[in-house]
């Protein structure tokens, strides 16, 4: 494999070579922990920057561009502001729990990164029960939220905390069911194994993979309390939900936990369904050639633009042909595409009411997840043409049936009289 792909692996190997043989495993662990704890806040800070810029652009405005060029230093100034802000604890609050809650919510968010395969053999801890670890750690977050809501002794926080616990628990079930199909097909719980199983065909390009991926992604958004499922911190009703009474660095910790978990959800969706660090089946240089043809044929574009476009694409094709794009770039590229979708949802949708939210989880995603396992079975058992067709049919019929049975607020179109 090319050197660029294994860049970080060789780098860590070279660093570890300085340690004596006995201490090498400990140094390895310390190095990995150090890297993760350094990367996590950086990822979080620049996620806030990405979100504010993208949503701003969706609303015809610039987004932060005062601090540093294009506002790149904005997250740092936000972090500094949070440090300076006074940390108010409500008088009736239970001080210990009020302090422990944000910490307890950030720790699992960082722990999730341990089993994330960033690139070819670039995984901090290659557990063979990686998936089980992921679900165990991600469910600690609901304790922290309820602890935070309860400790701040304010009516709005309690309402927000109760809503969040109900929501997280009811969305873990469809998430797990959708991943059961992946385990069944991949045959292993280890995240590296799952990514290897998608070598020649990403799970997303199978009928059950599409449905499973959507269910997992939606449940992930709900677990992270982001629009359109952000009931627990509904600004318009509960002022700020469970973290109403937090300020200063504690509020920043809540914020970090939310963003790290949303990054983790996107990363794990990529790992389970979008082929982790695998390059797309179609070699990328053919895509570059295709782009070159399109740009060349673009009649509306000015001649110099077309010429430059074609040359650029041809150069890229030659480069990528010789030196394929490294695996970890693929992983981060796909993750950031999913993050764009996450932010896109936040920029577009209002939030669902709490009972509709629950209804969606229990009455729609859960049965669909079960049927999805059946579809995955059909797909795996029967040979190619029959299996895919059978599972696709099963899924479409069941989805339509579920919508018909649940009959969300009768959506027959409204008639409007035009009187004179």
């Amino acid at each position: 494999m090319s050197s660029l792909d294994q860049l970080f692996v060789n780098l860590s190997g070279w660093l570890l070579s300085f340690f004596p043989a006995g201490a090498r495993p400990w140094a390895d662990i310390a190095l990995k922990i150090g890297v993760l704890v350094a990367i996590a806040p950086a990822i979080m800070m620049y996620l806030t920057w990405i979100e504010r810029k993208i949503i701003a652009r969706m609303q015809n405005r610039f987004g932060p561009d005062r601090v540093g060029i294009y506002g790149l230093l904005q997250p740092i100034s936000d972090g500094l502001k949070m440090l300076i802000k006074e940390d108010i604890v409500p008088r009736g609050a239970d001080r210990l729990l009020h302090l422990a809650a944000p910490i307890l919510s950030v720790v699992p968010a960082i722990l999730l990164f341990a089993v994330l395969p960033f690139g070819r053999n670039m995984i901090p801890a290659d557990l063979n029960v990686g998936l089980l670890y992921f679900f165990a750690v991600s469910s600690i977050g609901s304790y922290a939220i309820f602890m935070g809501g309860w400790a701040s002794r304010s009516k709005f926080s309690i309402l927000g905390a109760m809503r969040s616990v109900a929501q997280i628990i009811s969305y873990e079930v469809p998430a797990i069911l959708s991943v059961v199909a992946v385990i069944m097909v991949a045959g292993t719980l280890s995240t590296v194994g799952i990514v290897e199983a998608q070598a020649e065909r990403w799970f997303f390009f199978t009928p059950w993979g599409v449905v499973g991926g959507l269910i997992f992604f939606l449940s992930g958004i709900a677990e992270v309390n982001r629009t359109p499922f952000d009931m627990p911190e509904a600004e318009s009703e509960l002022v700020a939900g469970f973290h109403t009474e937090y300020s200063g660095m504690k509020f920043a910790l809540w914020y970090m936990a939310e963003f790290l978990e949303s990054f983790a959800v996107c990363a794990f969706t990529v790992t389970f369904f979008l082929g982790g660090w695998h390059a797309p089946a179609v070699p990328f240089w053919t895509l570059a050639l295709l782009l070159a043809v399109i740009v060349g044929a673009g009649t509306r574009l000015a001649i110099p633009v077309r010429g430059a476009g074609v040359l650029g694409m041809l150069g890229a094709a030659a480069l990528w042909g010789a030196q394929p794009i490294p695996s970890w770039i693929w992983f981060f590229a796909k993750t950031y595409v999913l993050i764009f979708v996450l932010v896109w949802l936040r920029g577009t949708f209002p939030r669902l009411r709490i009972d509709q939210l629950m209804g969606l989880a229990w009455k729609f995603l859960l049965p669909l997840g079960l049927i999805n396992i059946l579809a995955a079975g059909l797909w795996a058992w029967f040979p190619f043409p029959v299996g895919t067709a059978a599972s696709a049919l099963a899924l479409i019929v069941s989805a339509w049936l579920l919508v018909r049975i649940n009959n969300p607020a009768p959506l027959q179109p409204r008639t409007y009289v035009f009187a004179d």
């Binding site: 652009r57 969706m58 015809n60 610039f62 561009d65 673009g298 896109w344 577009t348 959506l411």
Partner: protein, 188 residues
Amino acid sequence: MAVIGSGVLRGMGVTFKTFLETYPWGRLILRTLRIPVTNGLFTIPYPETKQQHPERFRYFPFLVYDGTPDNLRCVACKICEQECPPQCIHIVMEKDEQGRPVKAHGRTLPKQFDIDMSICMSCRICVDVCPFDAIEMDNEYELSASDRYEHMIFDKHKLLKSADYFQKIKPTEAATVDARLAAKKPKA
């Protein structure tokens, strides 16, 4: 009945189109796909580029003088003080010791003319009722002050501005005012 998800997806299409519209390359893509580009970036970075206000934009009033500051048009007739809805104008006429009004340039003049800018709501009624066109509306809006009482009460000297300043900021309005004054000139 449309497919259950279509409304949601169309909504996302609108926001994505707006996202693309704000970038030049985005507009390029939209134009090649023949999607009409309606409006791109709408906000302006304030201190660098300032918004162009139309001529009639009014903020706080100012007193007009022709030529030198002591030749102001105001004759301290107090009609504006009477008509001002929030009563934020205070005028004291210039008098000598015996209490007789002092005349300058053939007109009486105000010794003291204060407008409390923290109460004035720039409603332009003083300009409407002034028979001598002595007071006009300014369009200077960067007036933040640290203290409400000393800085926000504009006295006569702070209010006085020349007629050609008025000509510069509001040409058409100044033209009608000058025409009216010229028509009155031969009579006076």
